[in-house]
Amino acid sequence: MPKLYRTREGTVSSVDVKTQLSTLGSETAPGPLLVPQGVKTLVSIIAAQCFNMGAATGYSALVRLEGPGLPQGPEVIGLGVGGVPVATGGNGVNRAIEIPLNIPVTSGNEILVFGEMVGTDVGSSEFVVTLVFA
């Protein structure tokens, strides 16, 4: 079975609030992220996030996966941390990382993808998360 790639992105603007990633750029309503037919496993995620440097503080970033497509229940994955000493003059680029996993999935069922900022509110953070199925 070749691998299949499903992606969602979104903006997380509050601390300690799980925020569903439900858009895909120009696709403002791509619909539920359903586990494709014929696959059995979430073999990895490929994800990146970065914040807008809007407040002089630091944070951590989590990806949460939930929904009936995950028979073992929710999963939470640490994606990164960040901070800036002053709120005038920060910038940065984070390349996506691939995190190998081996999580069983149920075809035809939905997986909800959330981003979450924890620690101190840094303004907002942009997340993009790809689920890799096989």
């Binding site: 070749p2 691998k3 790639y5 992606t7 979104g10 750029g25 809007g54 984070n94 790809t130």
Partner: protein, 137 residues
């Protein structure tokens, strides 16, 4: 045996599917899958912004076209953020070395065509640039 295919282009704004169709001095590289190829084995990709506008955004890659057997595949590339420096100060450059995704295993059909697009999402932080290399096997 591997065969590479590279395209690049500017990403002018967020929420716009931007096709990459050029390769520097080669203005129209062929996007036909070479004969004997059955899959995309690796992807080497980078995308970032100039950082001229305050905000945070992400970039992702769309691989589509008749050659992709299981439909369009969409893969995260990067995310970046920027806030304007104080007057009289300089901002550091926005640099991203390429990501290398191994064992990507996307099924393709030889002699059909690919479309490669990169798209930004979030708050526009200025014009971006993207470069994508596919390694066929």
């Amino acid at each position: 045996m591997s065969k590479t295919f590279t395209v690049e282009g500017d990403i002018a704004t967020v929420d716009t599917r931007t096709l990459l169709t050029t390769q520097g001095s080669v203005s129209a590289p062929s996007s036909v899958i070479p004969s004997g190829v059955t899959k995309i084995d690796k992807i080497i990709v980078a995308a970032s912004t100039e950082g001229l506008v305050a905000g945070a955004q992400s970039y992702f890659l769309r691989i589509g076209g008749n050659a992709v057997r299981n439909g369009e595949q969409v893969i995260a590339i990067s995310a970046c953020g920027f806030i304007a420096p104080q007057a009289g100060s300089d901002s550091s450059p926005q640099l991203m070395m390429a990501n290398i995704y191994n064992d990507i295993d996307i099924a393709v059909a030889a002699s059909d065509t690919l479309t490669i697009a990169v798209e930004g999402a979030g708050t526009d932080t200025g014009t971006g640039h993207a470069v994508v290399t596919l390694v066929f096997a």
